[in-house]
Amino acid sequence: MNTNKYINPYVGGILLGLFIIAAYYFSGEGLGSSGGFRDVAVTAIDAVSPEYAQSNAYTTNRVAEGVNPIHTWLVYELLGVILGAIISAAIFGRLKFNIGKAPHITSKKRLYLAVIGGILWGIGTQLGRGCTSGLVLSGMAVNSLSGYIGLATIFGSGFIFAFIFKKLWIKSKNN
Protein backbone atom coordinates (compact mmCIF):
# COMPACT_ATOMS: atom_id res chain seq x y z
CA MET A 1 0.00 0.00 0.00
CA ASN A 2 1.28 3.45 -0.91
CA THR A 3 1.62 5.96 1.88
CA ASN A 4 -1.17 8.57 1.92
CA LYS A 5 0.31 12.07 1.89
CA TYR A 6 -1.61 14.76 3.70
CA ILE A 7 -0.80 18.42 4.25
CA ASN A 8 0.41 19.70 7.62
CA PRO A 9 -2.67 19.85 9.89
CA TYR A 10 -1.80 23.31 11.26
CA VAL A 11 -1.45 24.70 7.74
CA GLY A 12 -4.77 23.07 6.83
CA GLY A 13 -6.37 24.57 9.94
CA ILE A 14 -5.12 28.08 9.24
CA LEU A 15 -6.35 27.93 5.62
CA LEU A 16 -9.72 26.57 6.75
CA GLY A 17 -9.94 29.41 9.30
CA LEU A 18 -9.25 31.96 6.55
CA PHE A 19 -12.09 30.49 4.45
CA ILE A 20 -14.43 30.86 7.44
CA ILE A 21 -13.40 34.52 7.78
CA ALA A 22 -14.02 35.03 4.05
CA ALA A 23 -17.46 33.39 4.28
CA TYR A 24 -18.49 35.73 7.11
CA TYR A 25 -16.88 38.82 5.57
CA PHE A 26 -18.36 38.49 2.10
CA SER A 27 -21.62 36.66 2.68
CA GLY A 28 -22.40 36.77 6.40
CA GLU A 29 -22.50 32.96 6.32
CA GLY A 30 -20.65 30.31 8.26
CA LEU A 31 -19.17 27.34 6.41
CA GLY A 32 -21.94 24.77 6.63
CA SER A 33 -22.87 21.38 5.26
CA SER A 34 -26.08 19.93 6.67
CA GLY A 35 -28.07 23.06 5.71
CA GLY A 36 -27.21 22.41 2.08
CA PHE A 37 -28.35 18.79 2.35
CA ARG A 38 -31.61 20.10 3.84
CA ASP A 39 -32.06 22.54 0.94
CA VAL A 40 -31.73 19.64 -1.51
CA ALA A 41 -34.31 17.64 0.46
CA VAL A 42 -36.72 20.59 0.57
CA THR A 43 -36.30 21.09 -3.19
CA ALA A 44 -37.10 17.42 -3.82
CA ILE A 45 -40.21 17.57 -1.64
CA ASP A 46 -41.31 20.78 -3.37
CA ALA A 47 -40.87 19.13 -6.77
CA VAL A 48 -42.95 16.09 -5.81
CA SER A 49 -45.69 17.96 -3.99
CA PRO A 50 -45.67 21.77 -3.82
CA GLU A 51 -48.88 21.66 -1.76
CA TYR A 52 -47.25 19.48 0.88
CA ALA A 53 -44.12 21.67 0.97
CA GLN A 54 -46.36 24.72 1.51
CA SER A 55 -48.27 23.05 4.34
CA ASN A 56 -45.32 21.50 6.22
CA ALA A 57 -44.22 23.85 9.02
CA TYR A 58 -40.54 22.97 8.45
CA THR A 59 -40.46 23.63 4.72
CA THR A 60 -43.10 26.35 4.24
CA ASN A 61 -40.75 29.34 4.63
CA ARG A 62 -38.20 27.77 2.30
CA VAL A 63 -40.66 27.40 -0.58
CA ALA A 64 -42.43 30.74 -0.07
CA GLU A 65 -43.29 33.01 -3.01
CA GLY A 66 -40.09 34.34 -4.59
CA VAL A 67 -37.82 31.92 -2.70
CA ASN A 68 -36.05 29.18 -4.62
CA PRO A 69 -35.00 26.43 -2.20
CA ILE A 70 -32.10 25.18 -4.35
CA HIS A 71 -30.42 28.53 -5.11
CA THR A 72 -29.03 28.97 -1.61
CA TRP A 73 -25.53 29.97 -0.56
CA LEU A 74 -25.01 26.59 1.12
CA VAL A 75 -25.95 24.56 -1.96
CA TYR A 76 -23.46 26.53 -4.10
CA GLU A 77 -20.86 26.18 -1.36
CA LEU A 78 -21.39 22.39 -1.33
CA LEU A 79 -21.00 22.24 -5.12
CA GLY A 80 -17.68 23.95 -4.53
CA VAL A 81 -16.79 21.41 -1.82
CA ILE A 82 -17.34 18.58 -4.33
CA LEU A 83 -15.06 20.25 -6.89
CA GLY A 84 -12.42 21.23 -4.34
CA ALA A 85 -12.22 17.71 -2.93
CA ILE A 86 -11.90 16.23 -6.43
CA ILE A 87 -9.09 18.67 -7.30
CA SER A 88 -7.17 17.78 -4.13
CA ALA A 89 -7.68 14.04 -4.56
CA ALA A 90 -6.53 14.28 -8.18
CA ILE A 91 -3.38 16.16 -7.16
CA PHE A 92 -2.55 13.69 -4.38
CA GLY A 93 -3.46 10.60 -6.44
CA ARG A 94 -6.43 9.52 -4.30
CA LEU A 95 -9.21 9.75 -6.88
CA LYS A 96 -10.47 6.16 -6.95
CA PHE A 97 -13.43 4.06 -5.84
CA ASN A 98 -12.91 2.24 -2.56
CA ILE A 99 -14.45 1.69 0.86
CA GLY A 100 -12.85 3.34 3.86
CA LYS A 101 -12.98 1.15 6.96
CA ALA A 102 -10.95 -0.55 9.64
CA PRO A 103 -9.37 -3.66 8.03
CA HIS A 104 -11.18 -6.17 10.28
CA ILE A 105 -14.67 -4.85 9.38
CA THR A 106 -16.36 -6.36 6.30
CA SER A 107 -17.36 -4.01 3.49
CA LYS A 108 -21.01 -5.00 3.84
CA LYS A 109 -21.04 -4.20 7.56
CA ARG A 110 -19.24 -0.90 6.96
CA LEU A 111 -21.83 0.20 4.40
CA TYR A 112 -24.77 -0.72 6.65
CA LEU A 113 -23.23 1.18 9.54
CA ALA A 114 -22.50 4.18 7.29
CA VAL A 115 -26.19 4.37 6.32
CA ILE A 116 -27.29 4.12 9.96
CA GLY A 117 -24.75 6.75 11.04
CA GLY A 118 -25.96 8.98 8.22
CA ILE A 119 -29.59 8.65 9.31
CA LEU A 120 -28.60 9.72 12.84
CA TRP A 121 -26.79 12.77 11.38
CA GLY A 122 -29.80 13.61 9.21
CA ILE A 123 -32.04 13.77 12.27
CA GLY A 124 -29.45 15.25 14.64
CA THR A 125 -28.52 18.14 12.36
CA GLN A 126 -32.10 19.22 11.74
CA LEU A 127 -32.94 19.04 15.44
CA GLY A 128 -29.67 20.57 16.62
CA ARG A 129 -29.54 23.28 13.92
CA GLY A 130 -26.37 22.35 12.11
CA CYS A 131 -23.41 20.01 12.03
CA THR A 132 -19.70 20.04 12.82
CA SER A 133 -18.97 22.79 10.29
CA GLY A 134 -21.96 25.13 10.45
CA LEU A 135 -23.04 24.70 14.07
CA VAL A 136 -19.74 23.96 15.81
CA LEU A 137 -16.78 25.35 13.84
CA SER A 138 -18.49 28.42 12.41
CA GLY A 139 -20.32 28.98 15.71
CA MET A 140 -17.07 28.87 17.66
CA ALA A 141 -15.56 31.35 15.18
CA VAL A 142 -18.06 34.02 16.27
CA ASN A 143 -18.03 33.00 19.97
CA SER A 144 -21.60 31.68 19.81
CA LEU A 145 -22.69 29.59 22.81
CA SER A 146 -24.49 27.26 20.37
CA GLY A 147 -21.15 26.26 18.81
CA TYR A 148 -19.71 25.27 22.16
CA ILE A 149 -22.83 23.28 23.10
CA GLY A 150 -22.44 21.46 19.79
CA LEU A 151 -18.72 20.90 20.39
CA ALA A 152 -19.26 19.51 23.88
CA THR A 153 -22.17 17.24 22.93
CA ILE A 154 -20.96 15.89 19.56
CA PHE A 155 -17.39 15.19 20.69
CA GLY A 156 -18.22 14.57 24.37
CA SER A 157 -20.82 11.95 23.56
CA GLY A 158 -18.61 10.71 20.72
CA PHE A 159 -15.90 9.67 23.17
CA ILE A 160 -18.47 7.73 25.22
CA PHE A 161 -20.00 6.05 22.17
CA ALA A 162 -16.51 5.33 20.82
CA PHE A 163 -15.75 3.41 23.99
CA ILE A 164 -18.97 1.40 23.62
CA PHE A 165 -18.43 0.70 19.90
CA LYS A 166 -14.68 0.22 20.06
CA LYS A 167 -14.84 -2.99 17.98
CA LEU A 168 -15.96 -1.02 14.92
CA TRP A 169 -12.60 0.75 14.64
CA ILE A 170 -10.03 -1.07 16.77
CA LYS A 171 -9.04 -4.71 16.40
CA SER A 172 -9.17 -6.32 19.82
CA LYS A 173 -5.53 -7.48 19.90
CA ASN A 174 -4.44 -3.84 19.72
CA ASN A 175 -6.16 -2.94 22.97
Partner: protein, 204 residues
Protein backbone atom coordinates in the same frame (compact mmCIF):
# COMPACT_ATOMS: atom_id res chain seq x y z
CA UNK B 1 -18.19 47.16 6.26
CA UNK B 2 -18.71 43.41 6.22
CA UNK B 3 -20.71 41.31 5.70
CA UNK B 4 -20.67 42.69 2.15
CA UNK B 5 -23.86 40.82 1.20
CA UNK B 6 -26.56 42.10 0.69
CA UNK B 7 -25.59 45.79 0.76
CA UNK B 8 -22.54 45.77 -1.52
CA UNK B 9 -22.60 42.51 -3.49
CA UNK B 10 -25.62 41.17 -5.37
CA UNK B 11 -27.25 37.74 -4.86
CA UNK B 12 -25.64 36.18 -7.95
CA UNK B 13 -22.13 37.24 -6.94
CA UNK B 14 -22.85 36.04 -3.41
CA UNK B 15 -23.64 32.53 -4.71
CA UNK B 16 -20.47 32.57 -6.82
CA UNK B 17 -18.45 33.52 -3.73
CA UNK B 18 -20.12 30.62 -1.89
CA UNK B 19 -19.05 28.29 -4.68
CA UNK B 20 -15.44 29.56 -4.62
CA UNK B 21 -15.17 29.36 -0.84
CA UNK B 22 -16.63 25.85 -1.07
CA UNK B 23 -13.81 24.84 -3.43
CA UNK B 24 -11.31 25.94 -0.79
CA UNK B 25 -13.25 24.15 1.95
CA UNK B 26 -13.45 20.89 -0.02
CA UNK B 27 -9.79 21.08 -1.01
CA UNK B 28 -8.66 21.52 2.61
CA UNK B 29 -10.90 18.70 3.85
CA UNK B 30 -9.46 16.28 1.29
CA UNK B 31 -5.85 17.46 1.53
CA UNK B 32 -5.94 17.21 5.34
CA UNK B 33 -7.24 13.64 5.28
CA UNK B 34 -10.86 14.24 6.32
CA UNK B 35 -12.12 11.94 3.55
CA UNK B 36 -10.37 9.05 5.29
CA UNK B 37 -12.92 7.67 7.74
CA UNK B 38 -10.23 6.02 9.88
CA UNK B 39 -8.53 9.37 10.42
CA UNK B 40 -11.86 10.85 11.54
CA UNK B 41 -12.57 7.98 13.94
CA UNK B 42 -8.99 8.31 15.16
CA UNK B 43 -9.87 11.39 17.18
CA UNK B 44 -12.01 9.25 19.51
CA UNK B 45 -9.38 6.55 20.04
CA UNK B 46 -6.28 8.71 19.97
CA UNK B 47 -4.40 6.99 17.17
CA UNK B 48 -4.68 10.03 14.88
CA UNK B 49 -4.39 13.64 16.09
CA UNK B 50 -4.99 15.25 12.69
CA UNK B 51 -8.67 16.10 13.08
CA UNK B 52 -8.35 17.88 16.41
CA UNK B 53 -5.33 19.86 15.15
CA UNK B 54 -7.05 21.05 11.99
CA UNK B 55 -10.32 21.72 13.78
CA UNK B 56 -9.01 23.78 16.69
CA UNK B 57 -6.46 25.63 14.52
CA UNK B 58 -9.27 26.60 12.13
CA UNK B 59 -11.50 27.75 15.00
CA UNK B 60 -8.67 29.80 16.52
CA UNK B 61 -7.64 31.38 13.21
CA UNK B 62 -11.24 32.35 12.41
CA UNK B 63 -11.90 33.57 15.96
CA UNK B 64 -8.81 35.78 16.09
CA UNK B 65 -9.25 37.03 12.53
CA UNK B 66 -12.92 37.87 12.87
CA UNK B 67 -12.48 39.70 16.16
CA UNK B 68 -9.53 41.65 14.79
CA UNK B 69 -11.67 42.69 11.80
CA UNK B 70 -14.51 43.50 14.20
CA UNK B 71 -12.32 45.81 16.31
CA UNK B 72 -10.93 47.45 13.17
CA UNK B 73 -14.52 48.15 12.14
CA UNK B 74 -14.30 46.08 8.95
CA UNK B 75 -17.06 43.63 9.88
CA UNK B 76 -20.02 43.70 12.22
CA UNK B 77 -19.74 40.26 13.77
CA UNK B 78 -22.93 40.64 15.81
CA UNK B 79 -24.93 40.37 12.56
CA UNK B 80 -23.78 36.80 12.06
CA UNK B 81 -24.27 35.44 15.59
CA UNK B 82 -26.59 32.40 15.48
CA UNK B 83 -29.43 31.97 17.98
CA UNK B 84 -28.81 29.39 20.69
CA UNK B 85 -31.55 26.80 21.28
CA UNK B 86 -29.78 24.84 23.96
CA UNK B 87 -32.17 21.89 24.41
CA UNK B 88 -32.45 20.71 20.77
CA UNK B 89 -28.76 21.42 20.14
CA UNK B 90 -27.80 19.36 23.18
CA UNK B 91 -30.02 16.43 22.17
CA UNK B 92 -29.14 16.75 18.48
CA UNK B 93 -25.46 16.87 19.41
CA UNK B 94 -25.65 13.55 21.23
CA UNK B 95 -27.47 11.99 18.25
CA UNK B 96 -24.71 13.35 15.98
CA UNK B 97 -22.01 12.03 18.33
CA UNK B 98 -23.52 8.54 18.02
CA UNK B 99 -23.80 8.98 14.25
CA UNK B 100 -20.13 9.99 14.09
CA UNK B 101 -18.91 6.79 15.78
CA UNK B 102 -21.34 4.49 13.93
CA UNK B 103 -21.04 6.15 10.51
CA UNK B 104 -17.46 7.42 10.60
CA UNK B 105 -18.23 10.76 8.94
CA UNK B 106 -20.00 14.05 9.42
CA UNK B 107 -21.96 15.65 6.55
CA UNK B 108 -19.18 17.90 5.13
CA UNK B 109 -16.50 15.23 5.26
CA UNK B 110 -18.86 12.65 3.73
CA UNK B 111 -19.54 14.88 0.73
CA UNK B 112 -15.81 15.41 0.11
CA UNK B 113 -15.19 11.70 0.51
CA UNK B 114 -18.07 10.65 -1.75
CA UNK B 115 -16.87 13.11 -4.41
CA UNK B 116 -13.48 11.40 -4.45
CA UNK B 117 -14.89 7.86 -4.76
CA UNK B 118 -15.36 6.63 -1.19
CA UNK B 119 -18.31 4.26 -1.43
CA UNK B 120 -18.84 4.24 2.36
CA UNK B 121 -19.32 8.01 2.22
CA UNK B 122 -21.93 7.60 -0.53
CA UNK B 123 -23.81 5.17 1.73
CA UNK B 124 -23.51 7.69 4.58
CA UNK B 125 -25.04 10.43 2.41
CA UNK B 126 -27.94 8.13 1.50
CA UNK B 127 -28.48 7.81 5.25
CA UNK B 128 -28.29 11.57 5.83
CA UNK B 129 -30.95 12.17 3.18
CA UNK B 130 -33.19 9.44 4.65
CA UNK B 131 -32.78 11.08 8.07
CA UNK B 132 -33.59 14.57 6.77
CA UNK B 133 -36.64 13.40 4.80
CA UNK B 134 -37.79 11.48 7.85
CA UNK B 135 -37.33 14.54 10.04
CA UNK B 136 -39.28 16.79 7.66
CA UNK B 137 -42.13 14.31 7.20
CA UNK B 138 -42.53 13.83 10.97
CA UNK B 139 -41.74 17.44 11.92
CA UNK B 140 -45.24 18.47 13.01
CA UNK B 141 -45.95 15.29 14.95
CA UNK B 142 -42.60 14.78 16.71
CA UNK B 143 -40.05 17.58 16.46
CA UNK B 144 -41.70 20.99 16.17
CA UNK B 145 -42.05 21.80 19.88
CA UNK B 146 -38.67 20.35 20.83
CA UNK B 147 -36.80 22.20 18.07
CA UNK B 148 -38.15 25.56 19.24
CA UNK B 149 -37.47 24.90 22.92
CA UNK B 150 -34.63 26.32 24.98
CA UNK B 151 -34.37 29.58 23.01
CA UNK B 152 -31.74 31.73 24.77
CA UNK B 153 -31.47 34.30 21.95
CA UNK B 154 -28.13 35.27 20.39
CA UNK B 155 -25.73 34.31 23.16
CA UNK B 156 -22.05 35.30 23.04
CA UNK B 157 -20.19 32.75 25.15
CA UNK B 158 -17.87 35.43 26.58
CA UNK B 159 -20.86 37.41 27.91
CA UNK B 160 -22.45 34.19 29.12
CA UNK B 161 -19.34 33.28 31.14
CA UNK B 162 -18.70 36.92 32.01
CA UNK B 163 -15.13 37.43 30.73
CA UNK B 164 -13.57 39.72 28.13
CA UNK B 165 -13.29 38.43 24.55
CA UNK B 166 -9.51 38.81 24.53
CA UNK B 167 -9.15 36.73 27.69
CA UNK B 168 -11.51 34.09 26.28
CA UNK B 169 -9.48 33.78 23.07
CA UNK B 170 -6.29 33.58 25.12
CA UNK B 171 -7.75 30.80 27.30
CA UNK B 172 -9.04 28.93 24.26
CA UNK B 173 -5.57 29.16 22.69
CA UNK B 174 -4.08 27.71 25.85
CA UNK B 175 -6.61 24.86 25.89
CA UNK B 176 -5.95 24.18 22.20
CA UNK B 177 -2.18 23.98 22.70
CA UNK B 178 -2.56 21.62 25.68
CA UNK B 179 -4.99 19.51 23.64
CA UNK B 180 -2.52 19.33 20.73
CA UNK B 181 0.25 18.14 23.07
CA UNK B 182 -1.95 15.48 24.69
CA UNK B 183 -3.28 14.15 21.38
CA UNK B 184 0.20 14.16 19.83
CA UNK B 185 1.52 12.05 22.72
CA UNK B 186 -1.49 9.75 22.37
CA UNK B 187 -0.81 9.37 18.65
CA UNK B 188 2.92 8.72 19.26
CA UNK B 189 1.97 6.05 21.80
CA UNK B 190 -0.34 4.35 19.29
CA UNK B 191 2.10 4.58 16.41
CA UNK B 192 4.38 2.03 18.05
CA UNK B 193 1.53 -0.50 18.05
CA UNK B 194 0.09 0.14 14.58
CA UNK B 195 1.00 -2.02 11.60
CA UNK B 196 2.89 -0.48 8.66
CA UNK B 197 -0.29 -0.78 6.55
CA UNK B 198 -2.21 1.23 9.15
CA UNK B 199 0.48 3.91 9.27
CA UNK B 200 0.51 4.13 5.45
CA UNK B 201 -3.28 4.35 5.29
CA UNK B 202 -3.43 7.07 7.93
CA UNK B 203 -0.46 8.90 6.42
CA UNK B 204 1.17 9.25 9.85
Amino acid sequence: MGPLYPDIINPELNLLIGFLIGIGFGFILEASGFTNTRKLAGIFYGYDATVIKVFFTAALTAMIGLYTLHYLGWIDITKTMPTTFWIPTLIGGVVMGLGFVIGGFCPGTSLSAAATGKVDAMAFIVGVMIGIFGFILTFGSIWEGLRKSGNLGKVDITEWIGIKEGLFIFLFTLIAVITFVIFQKWQDHWKKKLSQDDINDLGL
